[in-house]
């Protein structure tokens, strides 16, 4: 018992509870940082949308709503799987936990696939800002502005998601070699917090980009 109490305890902490609570708090602080990181983007979007409502609405209608909904549901499912994975680990069901993490991974990949096809379509329709951009109509400049923000916002989100996928793979390995178990579930809890936050960003991005201008 004493063995399991100190295994994985870093030297600056007194016990595993302190270690877990501290890393949890660390992740929450990081999340507050991320709030402001994406907050700047949302502000930029709001200001420019406020200035050019018509152009932004026109542009938003070029996004595929069904693909957006499918991606959102996939991410919500990954959030669900992540939570089940954590609950399972806490209740000593390592197998279910591993399986749930795999489910998270799969849903995340589905999301990335959907977004990739969305990117591909935009590229195909010459909606990627820069030299290849083509749009006929009076609002062309503002449509390009919308797509610039679209790519920056979803791109940063996808980057966060990809990092999250890497973290989940690590977690699955740790569960497999029994480094994570009912007594030591802190790292998975922190990873889950991060994953949920990535989901939250999408929960806000989806309506902002796809829905606000009306269909």
């Amino acid at each position: 018992m004493a063995q399991t109490q100190t295994a994985g305890l870093q030297e600056q902490f007194e016990d595993l509870t302190q270690q877990r609570e501290t890393s949890n708090l660390g992740m929450w602080i990081f999340i507050s940082t991320e709030c402001l990181f994406f907050g700047g983007l949302f502000l930029a979007f709001t200001v420019l949308r406020h200035a050019y409502p018509v152009g932004f609405a026109t542009a938003a209608r070029h996004l595929d709503l069904l693909s957006g909904i499918a991606g959102t549901v996939a991410l919500l499912a990954s959030t669900l799987a992540m939570s089940i994975g954590l609950a399972a680990l806490r209740n000593s069901d390592r197998f279910l936990s591993f399986l749930a993490c795999f489910g998270t991974l799969a849903c995340g990949l589905i999301f990335l696939g959907l977004e990739g096809s969305e990117y591909f379509r935009a590229w195909h329709e010459h909606l990627v800002p820069g030299g290849s951009f083509q749009f006929i109509g009076p609002e062309a400049g503002h449509v390009q502005m919308f797509f610039l923000l679209y790519f920056v916002m979803t791109g940063f989100h996808a980057l966060h998601l990809t990092i999250g996928l890497g973290v989940i793979v690590c977690m699955m390995l740790l569960i497999m070699i029994n480094r994570l178990h009912a007594e030591r579930y802190g790292p998975l809890q922190v990873a889950a917090l991060y994953w949920h936050f990535v989901g939250i960003i999408w929960t806000l991005l989806f309506p902002t980009l796809y829905l606000l201008g009306g269909r």
Binding site: L25, T33, L36, T79, L80, I84, D93, T208, L211
Partner: protein, 102 residues
């Protein structure tokens, strides 16, 4: 043995809870997508954002377990939100009052 059984029960009930919440969230996504097809004179935008905030709230409170966390995490989750608000409110004050001239 007994403890293990209790653990399994607890696991089952939390899985059920998460599944229900997942259905609620999915429903909310469909609601907001539906809202984007109606015209309510600007109120549809309000509705869409409201739905989004409710979804975020559900994720934060139930999936991220903010409801059961120590006070300090509350403090920092709140700080993120408050500062986001400061950025938005003070910056938008400028944009929304710029055309007021007397």
């Amino acid at each position: 043995m007994n403890r293990k059984l209790k653990g399994t029960k607890a696991l089952q009930s939390s899985v059920r809870k998460f599944c229900i919440l997942f259905s609620v969230l999915t429903g909310l996504v469909l609601v907001s997508a539906g809202l984007s097809f109606v015209r309510l004179g600007g109120f549809e935008v309000l509705g869409i954002m409201l739905v989004a905030f409710v979804s975020v709230g559900i994720i934060v409170f139930y999936f991220m377990e903010l409801g059961s966390l120590t006070q300090v995490s509350w403090l920092w989750a709140g700080a993120g939100l408050l500062w986001f608000g400061i950025l938005f409110v003070l910056a938008m004050t400028d944009y929304l009052t710029r055309s007021w001239v007397w």
